[in-house]
Assembly symmetry: C2
Homo-oligomer: 335 residues x 2
DNA sequence: TTGGCTATGTAAAGCGCTTTACCAACGATA
DNA sequence: TATCGTTGGTAAAGCGCTTTACATAGCCAA
């Protein structure tokens, strides 16, 4: 690899001149420019980003810390983040942490310490304060999708409550009165809000939420299946289930099938997320669509404006949408 | 951020001593070690990786260049690569290129130029020679999943031919004689090999491959649907379709449905990849499973051994597996 | 003729680290 | 006593770039 100095020597000017020329910090006469350009071409020079970063302290790169890149939701988010960042001339380094606290901390350290200008953080855990401590006071972080308590950086979320409200309304309008909710980890922002939207819709329709019909555990297929078994084993099972993620919904489908029942004939189901597979499952899943692309883009835009010294909104809520497919039907009349 | 020199000053030693101590290049008496450790703790020192990289020329990081991180196949691959790399103390930078040649080239440049020790490259395009040129002679690259013609770096592939051979055998054993194949881009390694396995199975069973029953286009859902329409609009349509990817298979399902037919009653279908959604669709898709985790891990291991100066096998083939689900049935008897 | 301006640069320091010398002090050895 | 090896370090250069401060040459106005 050729260096700046070699180019300068070849062109018969000083390294300073070449550097400033390349960074548009000097006006040179055509002849000099031509000599430099020729030298660059001849030596196939490309600047060493590491050196530049060390020198300037800027990297023109951002990091995306994500719990699990194999999860389509985060993968799509990552794709959107990349798209938007590239459009602004930024590189993106994606890391996935497996959802482990120490991995998250390491990732943030590694990223934030030295080689990126900013950080977009998504998590799906309840923080014990260590993340909050790490992120406190940083001016180059934005939180995406899920909150970290006690952190004051700009945040981009969807309107979780509105989503579950609409999902619940939809079930109620289809005639359901006995509706259960299966959600992710207790105390996670999205879970609390989705539960709140559910409660509001139920309340407005003067329906009671039965104790034991709100099951909070994990955003996983397995939990969805397990919770479904609990629900269906009860004396009087619900006629509809609101799953707080499509993964959970898949588990519900499995659980319902294992109980010898069918969706939507016996049990109606609404999911949340509208992951790519939601339209492909049997039956196609009615679910709440999150605007994944918009979330990623907005997070990048807010981060870049932060880096520019501006102050983006502390919290942005993106609208969700009810995607009606075929997993909801009127309740089965038993008598 | 504290620097090495500040730590040294605090501990009353030279920066050299601290650096060598941290890199295990010197043996210091306990007292000195304690002073340095105390200084590090007090100043919350963490080394600046950028500076270290610039100085040593090593980064303890590898890059994964992938066409589309939102594609579950590549996302799972990425997750496996990360897992294995982290286990060896390496960081991974993931970039997705959108499958555009120039983006791939830029990514390789950016990555390879300055900030990673090695590169794992996956692509899903047919190279026009530019990638090959860029990668030629490099000793720190491994190719994963798909080939680039003319490149001599170590490669990790699955046994594509064996996969489609088994898929085709399965269809034949179920009684099918009229089998069509829908594949990805002509001239892609995987496509050629999958076609070869198909041909071999057909030949062994003395079945002819009808002209017009091998459709090569793209590894996309849309192409799968379009190709299916072509197939089903013909006077005498096939009774089974071998889709060379699960994405294509999803498109086939859609196409079949749009024709008012059903799988597997009217048309049998086998996919390829066993993406997460394959088990979730209606009907659950019989497909060829690729050992995604093993692929990612092996690619990392080969890359690291390359970096260590060893010579991994030029080409490794990983075994595939037929996952029998419910998209294949004996052919519908028409007469 | 002088002073000052503009155009066209350059020298040198510094980013934070590693590494290659080198060195001083001390005890052991010949 | 001279030498040697070991222990416990240090000084300084260098990785490739940016940036601040300064320099020179030419030209114009006063």
């Amino acid at each position: 690899m050729a260096t700046l100095s070699e180019v300068a020597a070849e062109a018969g000017v000083s390294p300073t001149a070449v550097s400033r020329y390349l960074n548009h910090r000097i006006e040179l006469p055509q002849a000099t420019r031509d000599r430099i350009d020729a030298a660059i071409a001849k030596l196939d020079y490309r600047p060493n980003l590491l050196a530049r970063r060390l020198s300037t302290g800027k990297s023109e790169a951002i990091a995306l810390v994500t719990p699990d890149i194999a999860n389509p939701f985060f993968a799509e988010l990552a794709a959107a983040v990349e798209r938007q960042a590239h459009a602004s001339g930024y590189s993106v380094y994606i890391t996935s942490t497996g959802g482990h606290a120490d991995a998250e901390i390491n990732a943030i350290r590694r990223m934030a310490d030295s080689h990126v200008d900013g950080l977009i953080m998504t998590t799906n855990r309840v923080d014990d304060g260590s993340l909050a401590g790490l992120l406190a006071g940083r001016e180059n972080v934005v939180l995406l999708d899920e909150d970290i308590a006690g952190v004051t950086v700009p945040r981009v979320f969807v309107d979780n409550a509105e989503g579950s409200y609409r999902a619940t309304r939809h079930l109620i309008e289809m005639g359901h009165r006995s509706i259960a909710l299966i959600g992710g980890p207790h105390r996670l922002l999205s879970v609390g809000e989705r539960l709140a939207g559910f409660s509001r819709a139920m309340g407005e329709a003067s329906l009671t939420i039965r104790p034991g019909w709100v099951l909070l555990g994990e955003y996983t297929r397995d939990y969805g299946a397990a919770a479904t078994h609990v629900l269906l084993d009860a004396a009087e099972p619900p006629t509809a289930i609101l799953a707080c993620s499509d993964y959970i919904a898949i588990g519900v489908m499995q659980g319902v099938r294992e109980h010898g029942l069918s969706i939507p004939k016996d049990i109606s189901l609404v999911g949340f997320d509208d992951m790519a597979f939601a339209a492909l499952v049997d039956p196609p899943l009615t679910t709440i669509r999150q605007p994944v692309a918009a979330m990623g883009e907005l997070a990048v835009r807010h981060l870049l404006s932060l880096l520019d010294g501006h102050v983006p909104p502390a919290e942005t809520r993106l609208p969700v949408e009810l995607m009606i497919r075929q997993s909801v039907a009127p309740p089965f009349k038993q008598g």
